[in-house]
């Protein structure tokens, strides 16, 4: 701005032609030119600064990523190592504990098995003794039962002989009953036959009577019947009179 600043020394001592060149118009041109130049420089520097800034940011990002990856890998490796050691330690401790417990259980089971085996052995001994005595008693009972069965068989044989005799007598009685029944049946059949013949005769008479009644009933009117009715009344006159005079 100092270029366009008016110097009082020159105003005081220089010629008026110099002032003629630095009139208002020219000053304005110079100002515009300076303004344009200043904007151009600012723009160029801004572009360069922006490019450099972008490059710097990109480089910083790359480096930052690389560093983070490296640190993350290292941390993960460290954590894995720590976890593996911790798990191994815990597993070892658990294995030791389990082995101890298993050993104690095995010892207890072995003791129990030994005890049970001894008890089974004792029971076997007792059972053998009991079985032996039982077999002896069964043999005695069987022998006794066999003797009793033999006696019963003898009794049954005697009973069968008696039943056979009764059956023979019964068969004779049945034969006699059969003969009597046969004779009775023949007699009843003859009676039934006679009854049926009688019934047939009776029914035949009824049929003929029915036919006669049907045939005669249509033939007689009241006037035709009247002489016969009066004749019958005359026959029963005395009985009617006696009843009416009671």
């Amino acid at each position: 701005m100092g270029l366009f600043h008016k110097d009082k020394k020159h105003d005081d001592g220089e010629a008026p032609n110099v002032e003629h060149f630095f009139d208002e118009y020219f000053q304005e041109e110079l100002r515009n030119h300076g303004r344009w130049y200043f904007e151009k420089v600012i723009s160029e520097n801004g572009t360069i600064f922006k490019q450099e800034l972008e490059g710097t940011i990109e480089r910083i990002n790359t480096e930052l990523k690389e560093r983070i990856d490296a640190q993350l890998d290292a941390s993960v490796a460290q954590i894995n190592t720590n976890i593996e050691e911790h798990i191994n330690n815990r597993l070892d401790a658990q294995f030791v504990e389990y082995a101890k417990v298993v050993k104690e259980a095995q010892d207890a089971a072995l003791a129990s098995l030994n005890k049970s085996a001894q008890a089974v052995l004792d029971q076997n001994t007792q059972l053998s003794t009991t079985l032996q005595s039982s077999i002896q008693s069964q043999e005695e009972a069987l022998k006794k039962s066999s003797e009793q069965n033999l006696a019963r068989l003898e009794e049954m044989k005697a009973s069968q002989d008696a039943a056979l005799e009764k059956l023979t007598a019964g068969a004779k009685a049945v034969e006699e009953q059969y003969q009597n029944l046969s004779a009775d049946l023949e007699k009843r059949v003859a009676e039934q036959e006679e009854m049926r013949v009688d019934a047939f005769k009776d029914n035949m008479a009824k049929i003929i009577e029915h036919y006669l009644l049907g045939a005669l009933g249509d033939q007689y009117d009241m006037k035709a019947q009247l002489p016969s009715i009066i004749a019958q009344l005359e026959t029963n006159k005395q009985a009617i009179v006696d009843d009416m005079q009671l």
Partner: protein, 172 residues
Amino acid sequence: MSGTGLKPYTEFILPPNVVSKLDVSHLVAEAERADNELTAEAVGEKIGSYEHPELVISDQLKSFLEQNSIKLDNSHDRSELITQLRLLKDKVPVVHMTFAVIADRESLQQLIEWFRASVHPQVVIEAGLQPSLVAGVYLRTPNHVHDLSLRAALDGRHGALVEELEALYVGK
């Protein structure tokens, strides 16, 4: 019985056309009607303002009055007649006769004449119908029944019928 000379009901003669107890009831009703009409006529004559039609009576009542020589002129006689007819209706002897066919009036009159000539002069008939009798009559008196039908006649003769049939069969 009565001081008017009217016969008691036991001496009434019933004409042949009075057959049943219903006919006797008709006689009573008609006698009452005649009495009412004749009484009204007598009253009308006394006041002189009543013209009556001629009294019409049935053949049954007419025959009854003729056979028993009864006149209806006297009011007291009419009342006594009604009383005696009512007694007759209650006391008349009844025979129940069941026929195989419908009994016509003429036949019933012949029967009632026989009954009144032979059994009782005042008897009446209550007629019934039973076709299964075939022919004849089923008679019921106060204490007995008399089955005079053809069916009853044949009922006791089965044996004879069978014998005749067997004879007919053997002869064939």
